[in-house]
């Protein structure tokens, strides 16, 4: 059982890292709390389902297409709904909430509330130290690691990445230095939704695809950000793994039903007792 906790904890930690990173990017760069973040995760999962099941596309192209399409959708979303409202963060919040609900209902309309399955890419499993781990789960872990590495390279080495970091630090200064701030926002949005989509794509084969799946990724991402603070990549990764292991420990040792409760407890507990988070800059100023 301990082996199970470690293995599952690691896999979920990787997924939560991706979710949290996507969330912090738009948050840190544009100060937008995107309540439709979970909806992007949902859109990507349904896209994969549709591409694979209704159009017969093989898994890998379907994944790439779904993530790319969702990232584009995210950028469009920004341009059409968020950009006109960006003066008032409250209205941005509401419109993104509205979009999240709307997309959920569209999913119900098209696919009904019944869960859908996404086929696994790598069937089969192997034994690690007495626990059976599916190949799919290992693939998930590998892809997540690669994504985080790519993200880090993007932010550190590319021009767009450097601009993003400048804007995140101080958008006025960045504008004065000639950095096209609006373009950075757009890029951040695309990255953010792309990461949410990637997380959705990775999780879909071993859970189910259903219209309500958008809310827990949103809450988990928020919890990780609250715990870890903004601005530190390693801080976010650490917080993501803390949350994941806490969930697994609660699930295995106390009760699987309390798994979500563990996440909520971390969120509320951090807000009450250590609002500045553990590392980096807290979201409470």
């Amino acid at each position: 059982m301990l082996v199970d906790i470690v293995i599952f904890g690691t896999i979920w930690g990787a997924i939560y890292t991706i979710l949290a990173l996507g969330f912090t990017i738009i948050f840190g760069v544009a100060r937008i709390l995107n309540l439709a973040y979970g909806a992007m995760y949902l859109v990507a999962s349904y896209l994969i389902y549709t591409l694979v099941t209704r159009f017969g596309l093989p898994a890998v192209p379907a994944w790439l297409l779904a993530v790319a399409a969702t990232a584009v959708a995210g950028m469009l979303l920004y341009r059409v709904f968020i950009f006109p409202l960006r003066e008032t963060l409250g209205r941005v919040l509401i419109v993104t909430a509205g979009i999240a609900i709307f997309l959920q209902e569209v999913a119900v309309l098209i696919y009904s509330t019944e869960p859908r399955y996404v086929p696994t890419v790598l069937p089969g499993s192997l034994e690690i130290l007495g626990a059976r781990v599916t190949h799919q789960q290992l693939l998930t872990l590998a892809v997540a690691v690669v994504l985080v590495a790519l993200l880090h390279l993007f932010l550190a080495r590319t021009r767009y990445g450097r601009e993003l970091r400048a804007v995140a630090q101080d958008s006025e200064m960045a504008a004065l230095m000639g950095i096209p701030v609006e373009r950075s926002y757009l890029v951040a949005m695309g990255l953010s939704t792309g990461l949410a989509a990637a997380a959705g794509a990775l999780v879909a084969p071993f859970l189910t695809v259903n219209p309500e799946m958008g809310w827990s990724p949103l809450l988990v991402a928020f919890t990780v950000v609250v715990l870890g603070g903004l601005g530190s990549l390693w801080g976010t990764i650490a917080a993501a793994f803390i949350v994941a292991y806490a969930e697994m420990l609660t699930a295995f040792l106390i009760s699987p039903q309390l798994r979500e409760a563990a996440t909520f407890a971390i969120m509320i507990g951090t807000l009450v007792f250590r609002p500045h988070g553990l590392f980096g800059k807290g979201i409470v100023e």
Partner: protein, 312 residues
């Protein structure tokens, strides 16, 4: 009293009067039932507006307060005389206002909103888990001391009281302070306002009213179950408030009536209820910042312009 305030009082009174007289002409229990539901949602949306419309902190977890009031009616109904159940429901809701408010107080704006989303989910899960106490998903059957027309009038009465509170808040110094905090809470703090106390106050006031409404809701449905804590309920209230017009006293109530009646008449086209609601809300946020209320303003301005042109 300013002319504008008097007109507002008169407008609200006229609308309520019309609704109060309705049972004289309409005796169909179905219609009365739908109107009672609309009145209850108007109470929830209006009480929500106190925090969200004035102080500007969008609360996605308002369902907690009326859900707790409803469960109070379920648990205490058989044990307490009817008149005591109401204050019990309000008290329970106020307790939760503190439980929810305290962690959220250190937060502002969007962070507060996202955190408030969590509480109804927790309560929903608790209601399911402690099945022996809460009846789990079956809920609790409630034997109401009021029903039919009696309940309709009780709901209207509470709605009138809620609107009166909103009017009082809006026109008083309290309201101005709320709005100042809503506009720029850092400036308010710099000016010496204890924003934490005011935010908590808004939570508590909104919760108490919602708790009372929750008791009536339990009486109306004759049942209370975990679905009162569902995301659907929370979001419906937010949407009603926004579509009607936040911070406009009558706006959320109008939004509640409009959307509840719309929802029932959409029954024919099956239920795309939340789809339509959220679509309407997105359009409102983009084009009608103060909801249906501002629609009225826009029309009035057009009418005045038409009038001026005719006068030339």
């Amino acid at each position: 009293m300013t002319r504008r305030l008097a007109l507002r009082y008169a407008g609200a009174a006229a609308a309520l009067g019309a609704l109060a007289l309705l049972p004289v002409w309409v005796s169909n229990p179905y219609v009365l039932s739908v109107l009672t539901l609309a009145a209850l949602y108007a109470i929830f949306a209006s009480s929500w507006d106190i925090l969200s419309g004035y102080i500007g902190q969008i609360n996605f977890g308002h369902a907690v307060f009326f859900g707790v009031g409803a469960y109070a009616a379920g648990f205490l109904g058989p044990h307490l005389p009817a008149l005591l159940v109401f204050p019990a429901g309000a008290l329970a809701a106020v307790v939760f206002a503190f439980l929810v408010g305290l962690p959220c107080l250190k937060l502002r704006g969007p962070y507060l909103s996202l955190t408030t989303l969590v509480f109804p989910l927790i309560l929903e899960r608790l209601a399911f888990t402690f099945r022996d106490v809460t009846g789990g998903e079956y809920g609790i059957r409630v034997v109401p001391p009021l029903s039919g027309t009696g309940l309709y009038y009780a709901a209207l009465g509470l709605l009138a009281a809620t609107l009166a509170v909103l009017l009082a808040v809006s026109e008083s110094r309290l309201g101005r302070t709320f709005r100042a905090i809503g506009d720029d809470d850092l400036a308010a703090m710099a000016a010496g306002v204890n924003t934490t106390r005011y935010k908590l106050g808004a939570f508590v006031l909104g919760a108490a009213l919602a708790g009372l409404g929750g008791v009536l809701y339990a009486y109306h449905l004759r049942h209370v179950g975990p679905e009162v804590f569902g995301l659907f309920t929370s979001f419906s209230i937010v949407i009603m408030g926004i579509v009607g017009g936040m911070g406009t006293v009558l706006g959320p109530a109008i939004g509640a009536y409009f959307l509840t009646l719309l929802g029932e008449s959409l029954r024919e086209i099956e239920t795309y209820r939340l789809l339509v609601y959220s679509g309407v809300m997105i359009l409102c946020v983009l084009f009608l910042p103060r909801g249906l209320w501002s629609l009225g303003e826009v029309l009035l301005r057009l009418a005045r312009r038409r009038g001026r042109q005719a006068a030339r």
